[in-house]
Symmetry: C2
Subunit: 276 residues, 2 copies
């Protein structure tokens, strides 16, 4: 990451939760991303749901303070008693939830429930089934393995090898329970009209990925060093052909080279109108 | 979910971001989970990174207000101008980031960078490679498909069919770049000592899943209705055998019946000391 301001010794960030720690980690990391000049050693500590548990954690925080650094402690813990046990002099405690909960209580005109927030809880068994089905569908239809059941696909991601089809497919399946197939474009897959093979009937569901030749060559090199497959010439050729194919068939596509799996997924859902 | 307070007509919640919307959705949903008595229709609107974009969104918010409901608008947008364009009278705007950013600026003694926070950005190409490798490893080693390369697995999840191995495996691979294999326990897989087949050499890396017989029967029924496989008797037997196997071999395990994929993943990482 580009440094803004003076670079500094790594600091320590704790993400402390009474549940999985995912919310604390997600928001805390999003906040720290605004200070690219600073390095942080990160510790996520989930399931801190008792004062005794918090006291144990406070000793870890104290150790960092004793080492001379000022740790930043992000917490989503809802109990005020547990939070105060985490508030160690010499550290910075950032309370990510309870302030907003108070805002919401006022706005909604009702008080929060006393149970621990269970938004990651299985609670919604339908969502659980949907995710399980979606992940299994994604595995079955990874890399064009199966042309079956493409009719029920929510989206079919097409791209040359190593453009990011598989992780993006899995992310959409896991996070959103979408049925996502993906299909690799190989040298034999550039018909003069239409889309190749089993996806041609489903052109309206297709979304294309491309990347930069240099990046693709670098990624392919990881798998097959010094091969035609990973050569810059081959990568350049395949990407040009793929982009032509997308344009000819009006397949929306994006360049994955500067995008994370999360960003690609968000763009695909947006573009294919897959968001509720 | 259990209702706290009077049940109400569904309200509308917007999650509005200048980036992917993941942080807004994650924290906003975690906050709403504390009001289980209230139903919310949810809209995530990513990539709102201009005042004009925000004005377009404000029209959607206005439509909800005109319908007589008071929408809750969660935003992680960093630009004050864009945020104020989102602040529509009659709605509740919950600013999830900028207040905490100000706290952090004070605590860290430095000002935030002006670039958009890119914590979901590909920025870290090593993480991108790690996730891609991990997802491909998970696919290759799903459901005991391959005994190869178990030596490099970070963890091997073992369980009877339908206890949640595959989605949990995929989540750990995608979110944390961990190399996770999984191995199904079938009727032939209950040796009198040790662990079955290819995983026996890797007992120290194994983590077991179990569930409740009724829940398992329900989940299996989805796949094969009215089969021996989905019968309560068969499910009860397989789960008892699996739990015996875990105990005999000191394999840590958890009951997945009341846990989400996120919770199982957090417990596994905790228990197997896979957190950095």
């Amino acid at each position: 990451m580009a440094a803004s301001g003076a670079p500094s010794l790594p600091r320590t960030a704790f993400f402390i939760s009474d549940s999985t720690g995912i919310t604390a980690e997600t928001l805390g990391s999003a906040l720290l991303a605004n200070f690219p000049g600073m390095l942080f050693v990160r510790h996520t500590i989930p399931f801190v749901d008792s004062v005794n548990g918090a006291i144990a954690v406070s000793l870890d925080i104290q150790r960092v303070i004793d080492s001379g650094a000022q740790p930043v402690v992000f917490t989503t813990v809802k109990s005020a008693d547990i939070r105060s046990a985490l508030d160690v002099p010499g550290s910075v405690l950032v309370d990510l939830l309870s302030g907003h909960l108070t805002e919401l209580e006022v706005a909604l005109g009702t008080s929060r429930s006393e149970q621990l927030g269970q938004f990651h809880g299985v609670g919604d068994i339908d969502r659980y089934f949907a995710r399980m089905r979606a992940v299994e569908y994604a595995i079955e239809h990874d890399d064009g393995q199966s042309g079956r059941a493409l009719d029920i696909a929510d989206v079919i991601i097409i791209a040359p090898s190593r453009c990011g089809k598989t992780p993006t497919t899995m992310y959409l399946a896991l996070q959103y329970g979408l049925l996502v197939a993906n299909y690799p474009l190989t040298d034999d897959d550039f018909p003069t009209d239409g889309l190749p093979g089993s996806v041609n009937r489903h052109a309206a569901k297709c979304f294309g990925l491309t990347t930069n030749p240099l990046r693709l060559s670098q990624v392919r090199h990881e798998r097959r060093p010094n091969s035609v497959y990973s050569s810059l010439a081959q990568c350049t050729l395949e990407l040009r052909r793929a982009e032509d194919l997308y344009r000819r068939n009006r397949v929306p596509f994006l360049n994955s080279s500067t995008k994370s799996v999360e960003e690609m997924s968000a763009v695909i859902m947006q573009s294919m109108r897959l968001r509720s």
